[in-house]
Subunit: 581 residues, 2 copies
C-alpha cells in the first residue's frame, strides 16, 4: 500500500488513467485539436522570439507535453513554449560571445537541461516554498514589463534603452513591404480577438461555435499569409520567410556538457526556472480552483522538471505552463493531461507533414502573432491597485517594473524579489506597538488611540503587533522606554503578547535587558496572553526565573490583579496617594 502510494505520488497520471473512459477521451481529443491549432503559430513564433530556428519551437511542443502529462499534477495545464520564458532564453542566449564555441540551439538546450535539473533538485529538496517569495505584485509588474520589451522587440537589446537605440539605428533600414504585411496581420489578429465573435454570432452561429472559430483565427492568418507568400513569391521581394524546416522528428541525444558554459548559464537558468515555475503554478492553481482540483507545488517541480529535461533531450528550449493556452485547453473541455498527450501528437503530425508549406510562412506573421498575444500581458493596473492598497507593495512593483524596463529582465526579477523581502523585513523591524486599555466592562483591550477605553495610571499595557526577533528586538526596547517617558507614576509594564508568535534568542536577550532596566527603576515587568509555543521556549530559558513580574493567561486578569496590588500598596504606603483609581 505504501509503495503503491509512492508510485501514485511520483506518477500522478496513474490516478486518472485508472478510470479513463470514452467520454473523457472525446473531450480531451476536442481540446487537443483546438490547442494544436493554437500551438502551431505560437511554437514557431516563440522559437523566433527566443532567437532560435523555427523547428526548435515544434520540438519544444512534443516530448515536453508528454513528460508533463506523466509527471505533472495539474489536469488542464498546457505546457510548452511561452512568451516570458522565451524572452529570457533569448536574453541568455544572446549574451553568448561569437567565440563561445556553441551555437544558439545548443545553448538553449543547455538552458532547458539546467532548468530541468534545478526543478527536479527543487522537487527532491521540497523547495516549492521558495517560489512563495515572489509576491503577486512583483510577478504582475514583471510580466507587464516583459510584455513591453517583447512588443518593442526586433531586438538586439534586452532592455528599453538598448531597444530604443537599436530601433533608432535601424529606422532607415525598415523594409516597407514587411512592415505592411506585419501591420495588416496585427490589425487582423487584434480585430479577431474582439470583433470576430460578435460578427459570427450575428451571422447566426452559436456562441460556442463562434468562440471556437475565434481561437483558430491565428491559424487562418498563418494559412492565408503562407498562401500569399507561396503564390506571389514574396520571398523574392525581400520579405523574410521562415524557410526550410527539417521535416524530421527531434533526435534524442544527451546535450554536450561544458563546465565553463554551465557556470555561465546557471544564473539565467535559475531565473528562468523560478519565473517559469511561479507562472505555471499560479495558472495551475487558478484553473484547479475552478474545478476543485488540487495542485501539489512540490509535484509540479517534478512535472515541469521532466518537461524541461524532455525539451533538452529533443533539441527544444525552456518550457513551462502558459496562461492563455491553458485557459483555452480548459475552456475547450480538457478533462485529463491526456489532452496534452494528444496535442503533442498533433504537433508531431504538423512537423512531419506540413513543414514544406510552413517554409513559405512570412516571419512578419509570427512577429504579429507574438505582438498581439503579448499585448494582452501589458497590464500596468497593478501599479494603481498597489498604490491604493499598500505603499510597500507599490514600491515592490515599481522597483520591479523600473528595473525590468531599464536594466533588463533578469535584473528586474532579482530587484523585485530583493525589494519585497527588504520591505517585509523593514516593516517587521519597526512593528506597530499600541498602548491598550479596556473597553469598559468587556475584558477586551484595544488601542487607546482608536477606541474609548479605560486605563490605570500605574499600569502601562503595550501590545506589540509582531513576533519578537533579532531585527526588531532593540526597536521594541526603545519604544517601551519611550512610552514610559510619556507616562508618569507607572509601576507595572504589561506586554500583551497576542501577536507574538515567536521570541528568538536575540529578542530574549533584549527582554532580559528590559527586565533589568525596569527592575532598576522599580517597575514590574509582566507578560500576558503568551502563546503556547512561545511559553514553551521561554520555559527552556532562565528568563522566567529572572522576570521581575508575572505571566498572566489573560490580559484582563493581569490588569485586575495588578490594580488590586496597587490598591494594597496604597494602603501600606499612604504617601503615594497622589492618584485615585
Amino acid at each position: 500500500m505504501s509503495s503503491n502510494t509512492l508510485i501514485n505520488r511520483l506518477l500522478p497520471c496513474l490516478t486518472w488513467l485508472r478510470s479513463y473512459d470514452s467520454r473523457q477521451l472525446s473531450s480531451d481529443l476536442v481540446a487537443a485539436s483546438i490547442v494544436t491549432l493554437m500551438l502551431i503559430p505560437q511554437s514557431l513564433a516563440y522559437a523566433m522570439l527566443a532567437g532560435l530556428p523555427a523547428e526548435t519551437g515544434l520540438y519544444a511542443s512534443m516530448l515536453p507535453l508528454i513528460a508533463y502529462a506523466l509527471f505533472g499534477s495539474s489536469r488542464t495545464l498546457s505546457v510548452g513554449p511561452v512568451a516570458v520564458v522565451s524572452l529570457m532564453t533569448a536574453v541568455a542566449v544572446g549574451r553568448l560571445g561569437a567565440d563561445s564555441g556553441i551555437t544558439s540551439p545548443q545553448a538553449a538546450v543547455l538552458l532547458a537541461l539546467l532548468s530541468g535539473a534545478l526543478l527536479i533538485a527543487g522537487g527532491v529538496l521540497r523547495l516549492g516554498f521558495l517560489a512563495k517569495f515572489l509576491s503577486h505584485p512583483v510577478v504582475a509588474g514583471f510580466i507587464a514589463s516583459s510584455g513591453v520589451i517583447i512588443v518593442l522587440i526586433k531586438a538586439s537589446g534586452d532592455n528599453v534603452p538598448e531597444l530604443v537605440a537599436t530601433l533608432w539605428h535601424n529606422i532607415g533600414g525598415l523594409h516597407v513591404p514587411t512592415l505592411l504585411l506585419g501591420s495588416a496581420t496585427i490589425i487582423y489578429l487584434a480585430w479577431a480577438r474582439s470583433g470576430l465573435k460578435p460578427l459570427l454570432q450575428r451571422c447566426g452561429l452559436s456562441a460556442f461555435a463562434s468562440g471556437q472559430i475565434v481561437k483558430a483565427a491565428p491559424v487562418a492568418a498563418v494559412v492565408i499569409t503562407t498562401l500569399i507568400a507561396l503564390l506571389t513569391s514574396l520571398g523574392d521581394r525581400g520579405i523574410a520567410l521562415v524557410g526550410t524546416i527539417p521535416a524530421t522528428l527531434p533526435s534524442l541525444r544527451l546535450p554536450s556538457f561544458d563546465p565553463v558554459m554551465l557556470r555561465q548559464f546557471i544564473g539565467p537558468a535559475l531565473l528562468i526556472t523560478i519565473i517559469g515555475y511561479v507562472e505555471s503554478v499560479s495558472v495551475g492553481k487558478t484553473l484547479g480552483a475552478r474545478r476543485q482540483q488540487k495542485i501539489d507545488p512540490d509535484q509540479e517541480l517534478f512535472g515541469l522538471g521532466a518537461a524541461n529535461l524532455a525539451s533538452a533531450l529533443s533539441g527544444g528550449f525552456p518550457v513551462t505552463g502558459g496562461f492563455s493556452r491553458s485557459v483555452v485547453n480548459y475552456d475547450a473541455g480538457a478533462e485529463t493531461p491526456a489532452a496534452g498527450f494528444f496535442t503533442a501528437f498533433g504537433i508531431l503530425l504538423v512537423a512531419m507533414l506540413l513543414t514544406p508549406l510552413l517554409a513559405w510562412l512570412p516571419q512578419a506573421t509570427l512577429a504579429a502573432t507574438i505582438i498581439v498575444a503579448v499585448a494582452a500581458m501589458i497590464d500596468f493596473s497593478i501599479l494603481r491597485l498597489t498604490w491604493n492598497y499598500s505603499r510597500s507593495d507599490f514600491i515592490a512593483v515599481a522597483a520591479t517594473t523600473a528595473a525590468t524596463l531599464l536594466l533588463g529582465v533578469e535584473t528586474g526579477v532579482s530587484c523585485g524579489v530583493a525589494a519585497s523581502l527588504l520591505l517585509h523585513l523593514y516593516k517587521t523591524s519597526r512593528p506597530h506597538i499600541a498602548e491598550v486599555g479596556e473597553v469598559a466592562g468587556t475584558g477586551h483591550f484595544r488601542n487607546v488611540r482608536r477606541h474609548k477605553v479605560e486605563t490605570h495610571p500605574a499600569l502601562l499595557s503595550l501590545r506589540v503587533d509582531e513576533s519578537l526577533y533579532f531585527a526588531n528586538a532593540s526597536y521594541i526596547e526603545d519604544e517601551i522606554f519611550r512610552s514610559l517617558q510619556q507616562h508618569h507614576g507607572v509601576h507595572h509594564v504589561i506586554l500583551l503578547c497576542t501577536a507574538v508568535n515567536e521570541i528568538d534568542l536575540s529578542a530574549l536577550h533584549v527582554l532580559e535587558t528590559v527586565n533589568q532596566r525596569l527592575k532598576a527603576m522599580q517597575i514590574g515587568f509582566h507578560l500576558s496572553e503568551v502563546k503556547g509555543p512561545v511559553m514553551d521556549a521561554l520555559q527552556r530559558s532562565e528568563f522566567l526565573q529572572h522576570l521581575n513580574g508575572d505571566v498572566f493567561l489573560s490580559h484582563a486578569q493581569a490588569v485586575h490583579t495588578l490594580q488590586e496590588r496597587e490598591l494594597q500598596s496604597l494602603r501600606v504606603h499612604p504617601e503615594y496617594q497622589d492618584f485615585q483609581i
Copy 2:
C-alpha cells in the same frame, strides 16, 4: 532653537562640554591614564595582527579617538584598533597580489577610508536599522570563531584548514627561543588575569587598587621583555623584535584613489563596517544601559565614520569601539568622551617619546598579548544555549561558526546573515495555525489542542499566528481547506486575526480566492478581531464588498452571532437537524 538642535545632534560633544567641570576632568584623566597603559601594547599588537607596521597601530589610536569624542553618542565607548576588525583587515590586505601596486599600509588606509565613507553614508540615509539583521547568535558565533582563527594565527591562511596546512608546513622551522619567550608571556598574562588580584589583596592592597594594578599587567610584560631584549641582545639570537618605529606624528594626507582597488575593497570594507558597527553599538548600549545613558544608533554611524576617516587621514587602519577597553574605561570612572581625547594625547606622548625603547620589544610579547586577550572571546557556549532554546537560532550559529572556521571570516558573516534571514522567512512562510474554542463562559478563545474548550460543529474558528503576506499566503489557503476536510458539517469559517499585523496584496488575493471557494461550497467566511491598520487597508480594497460573511469586533461576538444564526436556520430547515447544539 531648531538650528541649535541640529548642531547638538551633529556634535553630541556640545551637550556634555557645556557642563564640564573639574570633578569630571579628574575622573576622565584617571580613566585615560589606565586606558593608555592598556592601549600601548594593544595598538602595537593589533597592527601586527593586521599585518601592518607597528606605528600604524599608534596612528589608529590618536586622531580616531578625538574624532569619536566629537561625533560619537556614547560617553564611555573606547574607540581604536580591535581584534576582530584587525583580523578582517589582515584578510582583506593579505589578498592583495604582489603586483597590485600598493603597499599593505596604503591598502589598510583605503579600507579605513571606505569604511568611514560607508558609515557616514549609512548615517545620512539612516540605515542604522540594517545592523539589526545581524542577530545576537550570529554575532556571538562569529566572534568566537574569529577568536579561534586569531589564536591559531601566525598565519598565512584566513581559515582553519589553511592555517593547519601552514602550521604543518612550518613545524620544522619553529624557533625555540621565540616559542619559549612567547609561552612564558602567555602564562604570565593568563595568570595575571586570574591569580594576580587575589595575591595583591592577600598582600593587603584594597580591591580597587589591586584591580587597577592588574590592568597594568600587560604593560609590565612589555616593559620586562623589552628590557630583557635590550640588555641581552635577544635580537641577535634570532628573536624577532618590533624594530625601528618612526618617532614622528602621523602625517595628514588624502589617501590615493584607484578605482580598480576601490572596487576590489568595497566588499571587505562593507563587512568590516557592519561587524565593527554592530560590535561597537552593542558595547555602547550595554554600558549606556548601566548608567541610563542613551546611544543613538544613527549618530553612532557618524561617530564611527568620523573615527575611520580620521584613521585613514593619519595612516591608520579600520577602527571601532572595543569591548574590553570600553569596560576598563567605564570601570575606571570615565564620565565623558573627553577621556578618549586624553587617551589620544597619552598615545601621542608614547609615540613621540618611547618609540626608541619600543624598538626592542619582542614580537612574541605582542603575539602573547593578542592570544590572551582573544582567548576570552572564544566562548562557544552560544551553541549550547541556542540548542536548548530554539533550533533555528542554533542553525544560524552553527552555520556562522562552520562557515567562519572553514571558509573564512568574510564568508562566515555573510552565511550567518543569510542563514538567519532565510530561517526567519521560512518560519513565517509556514505559520502556526490553531483551531480555537471558547474557554467555557469566559469569552476567551484558546487552541483546542492545549486547552479544554468548547466548539460548535457548524463553526470552524482558526487563528493564524502570523501576518498574512506573500510568503505564507498560499500556505494559509491550503491549511484552511485541509482543516475543513477534517470537519464535517461546517457552515462558517471564522479567521481570528489577533496576530495578523498586515495583509499584503498577495495575501489579499489569496483571501479573495478562499472567499470564492468557500462561497462555492456554501460556507460563510468571517473575520474577527481585525486590527485597526489592517482594517484600514481592507477598506481601501474591494475585499469587504465581496466577503461572503462579516467582520466582527470580537471573536466571542462572532461565535455567538453565528451560533444564533445556525439555530434559526435549523428552525427554518428542520431536515438539517443531524446535530445538536
